[in-house]
Point group: C2
Chain length 230, copies 2
Amino acid sequence: MAVAARPVIRPIEDNFSLKERTYGALKEAITSMNIYASAEEIRLDERQLSKDFGVSRTPIREAIARLQQEGLVHIAPRKGVFVVRKTKAEILQMITVWAALEGMAARLITETASDAEIATLRTMFATFEGDQVQAKIDEYSDTNIRFHQAILKMSQCDLLCEMAEHLFLHMRSIRMRTISERDRADRSIIDHMNIIEALEARNTDFAERLVRQHTLDLAAHVEENVDYLD
Amino acid sequence: MAVAARPVIRPIEDNFSLKERTYGALKEAITSMNIYASAEEIRLDERQLSKDFGVSRTPIREAIARLQQEGLVHIAPRKGVFVVRKTKAEILQMITVWAALEGMAARLITETASDAEIATLRTMFATFEGDQVQAKIDEYSDTNIRFHQAILKMSQCDLLCEMAEHLFLHMRSIRMRTISERDRADRSIIDHMNIIEALEARNTDFAERLVRQHTLDLAAHVEENVDYLD
DNA sequence: TCATGGTATATTGTATACCAACACCGGGAG
DNA sequence: CTCCCGGTGTTGGTATACAATATACCATGA
């Protein structure tokens, strides 16, 4: 059968509104910058942004309103819009909540995920056999993050994933590298393997406990070693 | 002594901007209405709201942008803004996350709260001695909600509290009354007492497990009995 | 009668002008 | 030298005009 002369299947690439694009651009800019590098507050000038983006202030303001709701910026009436700096206490709370979310994700995985899915977790660490971890410390850092995101995703609970992602967004500006440092990497990979084993064994309570404790250990580490906050 | 000619005491309560007040008003309106009463979508008309509130569209739009970010409304470009209706699956996910959060709260309570604080939980149920529960079913429903909020608050973790509150906001429109029905009230109060005991005993793991299971039981109940969603 | 295309209208998206409030700075008085 | 006060500029807040587009309705022709 001949193919009909249909013009073309054009899904019409997303016509994002200016508000949407401005929101995305600002969010990206904020999360990718190191907020804690300079001591002084970082201010967003509506009119300046308006010129930079080449749009009017209206979409800028709506984007800022959303960023405010998201907790990324603080609007000081008649003074300016400022990027919020999380306090150490707030970071610790975020990690605590993260521990709760990821722990629940682990539970769900033991109940619903397939063996094949769980098996994919092992492959993530295939390149870190033996003592390769120290050598590929940067690469491991990325893998580390992807591992935790994989756990969340595998839970099949979109909300869980979304909320954890949101928390992670706020922590991106803090250099995660310094958090999972060399001396922690070895311990980390052991934890991960134990977690995978618990998942494979469908040991719900144990898997949750391991995941929770692993994340709470991070909190303790931050509590003790991170000092460039506040 | 004559009263000085002070202009007025005015605590200047309305230091809130129009955007802020519009946001609050819309949020209150949305959460207090029963979204699922009618089958058709509920639309918010900017111009209508503009007239109702007596302000221009700008603050309305900024408030709507925030509500969108919060997940309460959906903006369909050039078509209108609509109050989002949560699906049953989304509700179940919210309850699941809630279980994780409140479980973690219970953990924290066993580690940091004072005996006196924990004791206050008992007083909440003082008026429901014996079989009073069935008689005061409505009142118990409120107490039930306050109990869970008290747990979150007592955890001393503001973020935990805030995120749970946010989840609760989305569920308010669903009649919680029907969720904690007569036949569940008895079981509920038993669970609560067990939870309090575990907290008092500082039994971290057990308290968490009881709290988590109590909430997951709710999820199972919703799964089975709630059918006015979707 | 039905399909098709144009058009009117309604609704949000965007730009811009103006306003009110606050910060900042400089000068004068003590 | 310090402190107060007022002018002035900057900034977010608000209103409104205009543009773009989705939708419904209607006319027209097969």
